[in-house]
């Protein structure tokens, strides 16, 4: 992860973007190739690995655990809802700068952004809408007592720019891969309930509302233009970046400006629109990728063939 850039290199990138050609031959609205794989870690309820060609490598795991429901003391809300708890960690092996406490700020920024978009309770709380499409009520086991808590943990294994988009692609795929065991609730009378977790690996629930999960598009404003999927050097030239979270029906699920530059209001609206269009087409591609993989896995399982995964760091 470079932290400095020479004026000559900056100038080269800036002028290139002005002419709609980038250092790696892409045009402004082009993404790099994405490798997406689900079901890579056996200990999790769902997992996915994303690699953006050129560096960024992220592993997202979802673990479903049973815990007490969290009731908001002010509104009394949340008694019949499960929870999603997000965290992002940059592994020190990815970059020297992540060593020790070096990644703390970055981890916190990414975690908070993810929490804001997925669970929507962090910076600006909201009670009326369910989190980012996921139906939290379905995660509740006994209202007012027990619920499923989905721990979404993203681990950055390699850095090659555009972390946020990759994390969200991975999270979406991992949630698609997640299987939650079925539970059976027994009524013991006078308000007492008991439940049992069924340990049938074949008969499990999917996460309800997973199709409506948003993904993020990070737009980097360089000069008067904006690009998507910036490489590390392009990120160093970025004056302002705008993270646009969008779901498949084109609704905006979050918006955040980053870095230390300003954007004109008219350009801001144009960038939002641009991010929305790109995001929707990207979701379609990702869904096709996830579906193709799930279908081939299912076919192999039925035929009794072993399922081979690419595994980590595969190019």
């Amino acid at each position: 992860m470079p932290s400095l850039i020479s004026p000559a290199e900056r100038d080269f990138i800036l002028k290139g973007i002005e002419c709609n050609i980038r250092a790696d031959g892409r045009q402004r609205p082009d993404f790099r190739e994405v490798i997406l794989e689900t079901g890579v870690v056996s200990q999790t309820s769902g997992s996915a690995r994303v690699r953006i060609a050129g560096g960024t490598d992220i592993l997202v795991s979802v673990k479903a655990e049973i815990g007490p429901v969290q009731v908001d003391p002010e509104t009394g809300d949340g008694a019949d809802k499960g929870q999603i708890i997000c965290s992002v960690e940059c592994a020190p092996s990815a970059s020297q700068q992540f060593e020790g406490r070096g990644a703390d700020d970055l981890n916190n920024e990414l975690t908070q952004m993810m929490t804001r978009i997925l669970s929507n309770t962090s910076a600006t709380s909201s009670s009326a809408s369910s989190a980012a499409g996921i139906n939290l009520s379905k995660l509740c086991i006994i209202p007012g007592q027990q619920c499923w808590i989905l721990y979404v943990d993203a681990l950055v294994l390699d850095y090659g720019g555009n972390l946020m988009d990759a994390i969200f692609m991975g999270t979406r795929a991992a949630i698609f891969d997640t299987r939650i065991p079925k539970t059976e609730v027994q009524d013991l009378g006078d308000g007492q309930f008991e439940f049992e977790v069924l340990d049938d690996a074949e008969d499990t629930d999917i996460v309800d509302g997973r199709e409506d999960m948003p993904i993020c598009i990070t737009l980097n404003k360089i000069g008067a233009r904006h690009i998507v999927d910036a490489s590390p050097l392009e990120e160093l030239c970025t004056e302002a970046k705008l993270v646009v979270a969008v779901n498949r029906s084109g609704e905006l699920c979050g918006l955040q400006k980053g870095q230390d530059g300003g954007i004109e209001p008219s350009l801001l609206l144009e960038m939002i629109q641009f991010g929305k269009t790109i995001g929707q087409s990207l979701i379609k591609q990702l869904d096709a990728m996830i579906k193709a993989e799930a279908d081939s896995d299912l076919g192999k399982r039925q035929r009794g063939e072993p399922i081979h995964k690419l595994g980590f760091f595969a190019q």
Binding site: E109, N120, S127, L255, G262
Partner: protein, 281 residues
């Protein structure tokens, strides 16, 4: 009853206390706000005053009814840490701290992740305005204390406004003042009372309420905070959470820009006042 401590007669009963009747729940309706005197596009009245903290190089205090925030600016000072190396640009450190008693739930003294994140947002919102290129090897510290919070979004926008007024009061060179404003999209109409699931809300488009307070924030579907430099016509920060249609977003951005222009006038007035006061002393 605690007989050891209360030395009353044996037949005493607890006093009947009349609680204020204002406890009933506010239900969002079209054009009807929690604060009945406000229209959907109205902000709360702003009280802004600079120079209330003696020790600081610049300071500001902002009050939007129940939102009360104090801000102090220290610096520019030289960067102490040697290990960081030379930087041609100055650094703007922002730190926001919620007082332990500021929210409904008691907050702890240690900085929690939310405060860290808000600090980062505030510094990102202010940095485009400050001429940090004129301050090599130095740092400016902005400390913000939230004394009373009435809704997180409005708190964040008030903090940005106060911090930029305090920076100007400290005499730090800036391109422009940064005014910030928040808006909430609140679903109105009969559907919300019946069920709280997202599906039923989608029927009617939500209404935009500017500068929502805590009670309104509880009903919101999403919110936006926009920081804006009026004379440069530049958005320095935008933060949106919750689900919304593109049209609602662009509409609320326009509303926020308009409101920021009004806040800008208030900031101007407060700064002018601080200068005239200084002259008379």
């Amino acid at each position: 009853m605690d007989r050891k401590r209360v030395a009353g007669p044996e037949l005493s009963v607890a006093p009947l206390v009349e609680y204020p009747v204002d406890r009933k729940c506010w239900i969002p309706q079209k054009d009807h706000r929690h604060d009945a005197s406000r229209q959907p596009e109205d902000m709360r009245p702003i009280y802004l005053k600079t120079g209330l903290i003696n020790q600081a190089n610049g300071s500001a205090y902002i009050e939007l009814e129940k939102t009360k925030i104090a801000c102090g600016v220290y610096g520019p000072r030289s960067v102490k840490r040697v290990g960081q190396g030379f930087s041609g640009h100055g650094v703007l450190n922002c730190e926001i701290k919620f007082a332990t008693f500021s929210c409904a739930k008691r907050r702890t003294n240690v900085r929690d992740p939310q405060e860290k994140n808000l600090s980062l947002i505030i510094s990102q919102a202010l940095t485009p305005a400050v001429r940090l290129d004129l301050l090599p090897k130095s740092a400016i510290d902005v400390y913000i204390t939230v004394l009373e919070s009435d809704g997180i979004s409005s708190c964040l926008s008030a903090a940005i406004t106060a911090a930029s007024a305090a920076l100007a009061h400290a005499g730090i060179e800036m391109l422009d003042l940064v005014a910030a404003c928040s808006a909430s999209y609140i679903p109105t109409g009969p559907s919300i009372t019946a069920t709280e699931s997202a599906g039923s809300i989608a029927s009617s488009p939500p209404q935009i309420f500017m500068d929502a307070d805590l009670e309104e924030e509880k009903h919101e579907q999403g919110s936006i905070v926009l920081a804006y430099m009026p004379s440069r016509n530049e958005v320095t920060h935008v933060l949106q959470s919750g689900k919304a249609e593109g049209a609602i977003i662009s509409q609320s951005v326009e509303h926020c820009v308009e409101a920021c222009n009004k806040i800008y006038a208030v900031m101007h007035h407060a700064l002018l006042e601080s200068i005239t006061e200084n002259k008379s002393v």
